[in-house]
Every structure is written in structure tokens, then in C-alpha cells.
């Protein structure tokens, strides 16, 4: 996964595949990039990305986590190395996997949340209603 974020204009592109592609506007401020060969969607662009990425339904949660980490680092001017130095019990490699959009465990996410408190994970994980079992 390739994630690009321009903090000056709150613009992001999230790509799942590198192919020759073209962009098609699919909603206000959202572009879907399609493979020129077969029209398969290979990525998206988002204006007002700091809110629109998280409310968009068609990308997986791991992509939203990856974007949140990248966006937070860019906004606060942190390098990956600075973040990974603060991690306790999670390797730098695991952090890089999370920021690359790979699957990581909730334990890893929890550890990153503590090391990078500026990242607002409530944007990704909406509070769930817990039903009481009688």
C-alpha cells in the first residue's frame, strides 16, 4: 500500500497497486483511480482527507490505521524512527507494517496508541454498543 499525505492542503492518495491508471470523480472531493487495462479500482484520492478518509466505506480498516499514523506523523513532524523509539514491546518493523497498511494485531495497535498519543484512533474505531448478556 502506498499512502501520500500533503498536510498543507489536507490531501491524500491511498494506492493498493502500481499500474497505469486514471482518476474518475466518484463523490465530492473523492477520486477513484482505475487500472487502464481493466477498470479495477487501484486507489483513491481524498480532499479534506483528515475527515473524508475515515468516513469513506470502501477502504479497509488497516488502510485507515495506516493513513492515521502517516497523517499524524506528518502533521507533528515526527520521523518513523522517532515514533518507534517510544514503542515498548513492539518492534520498529511492526510499526512499519502498521503504517504500510499490513495486518497487525490489536496489541500492536494498542502499543502504538500509547507511543503516539496524538493519533486519534477514535476516527478509525467507532465506539461499539455493548449488549449486556443476562
Amino acid at each position: 500500500m502506498n499512502i501520500y499525505y500533503d498536510k498543507d492542503i489536507d490531501y491524500a492518495e491511498i494506492f493498493f497497486k502500481k499500474v497505469n491508471n486514471y482518476g474518475e470523480d466518484i463523490a465530492d472531493g473523492i477520486v477513484a483511480f482505475k487500472d487502464e487495462e481493466n477498470d479495477e479500482i487501484v486507489g483513491y484520492a481524498f480532499e479534506e482527507a483528515s475527515s473524508s478518509v475515515f468516513s469513506f466505506k470502501d477502504i479497509p480498516t488497516r488502510a485507515k490505521v495506516a493513513f492515521l499514523l502517516k497523517m499524524t506523523r506528518e502533521i507533528h513532524g515526527f520521523t518513523q524512527e522517532q515514533v518507534t523509539k517510544k514503542l515498548d514491546g513492539v518492534s520498529g518493523r511492526q510499526y512499519q507494517r502498521a503504517e504500510a497498511g499490513d495486518n497487525v494485531s490489536l496489541d500492536v495497535i494498542d502499543n502504538i496508541r500509547i507511543a503516539l498519543p496524538q493519533a486519534d484512533f477514535s476516527k478509525v474505531f467507532e465506539p461499539q454498543t455493548v449488549k449486556k448478556v443476562s
Binding site: N2, Y4, D6, D8, I9, D10, Y11, E13, F15, K18, V19, N20, N21, Y22, G23, E24, D25, D28, G29, V31, F33, E36, G43, A45, E47, E48
Partner: protein, 103 residues
């Protein structure tokens, strides 16, 4: 990298945006496409969401597929200068306000 647009404005493309973003996910675009679209666009629009971002479009001519395709270069015009934020192929032209149209 520096380019000059149709009204003589200097526009910068940082090495990071070129190598880590544009070349990485928009492989169909080369430096000459960016240069030509900035210096001789068909249309320039203000972005739909941001007044400080302008979208330079030029039509890709003579495509074998016969499809409509445009080069689109997004330029942010901020206090520190004019910078390319992204470059891509689009199927349509879109923007909030037309700034320039080639006659």
C-alpha cells in the same frame, strides 16, 4: 525540479513528491508531461475544496483507445511558494472556478 507555467510562475516539484509519490503510483506520467501541461494547459481550474490549489489540465491526444483522458497537475500556491502536490491522469475536467482556457 522547477517548472515555469503559462503565465511565467515558477513551480517547484520536490524530489520527495516526484520519487515517493508521483513515480510510485502514477507511472504513466513523465517529467515532460508535467512540463508541457504547466506551460501550455488547455484549462486551469481552482480546486473544488481549496482556493489555494489550482488544477492544470491538458488533453492526451490520439489515444489508441479513443477514450477521453487528461493530464492533471495539482499545484498548491502557499506562502512559501508554488508546489506540485500531485500529478495524474483524469477522465474528466473538474473544478470550482475556471481561471484559464486556451483559445
Amino acid at each position: 525540479m522547477f517548472f515555469v507555467d503559462y503565465i511565467g510562475l515558477n513551480i517547484e516539484l520536490s524530489e520527495e513528491v516526484w520519487t515517493e509519490h508521483i513515480k510510485a503510483v502514477h507511472p504513466e506520467i513523465c517529467e515532460a508531461d508535467i512540463k508541457n501541461t504547466l506551460s501550455d494547459p488547455d484549462e486551469v481550474w481552482v480546486s473544488q475544496k481549496r482556493e489555494d490549489t489550482e488544477l492544470y489540465y491538458s488533453k492526451k491526444e490520439n489515444l489508441a483507445s479513443g477514450k477521453n483522458r487528461y493530464w492533471m497537475i495539482a499545484v498548491k500556491k502557499i506562502k512559501t511558494g508554488n508546489f506540485i502536490s500531485s500529478a495524474m491522469t483524469k477522465s474528466t475536467i473538474i473544478g470550482s472556478k475556471l481561471i484559464y482556457k486556451k483559445l
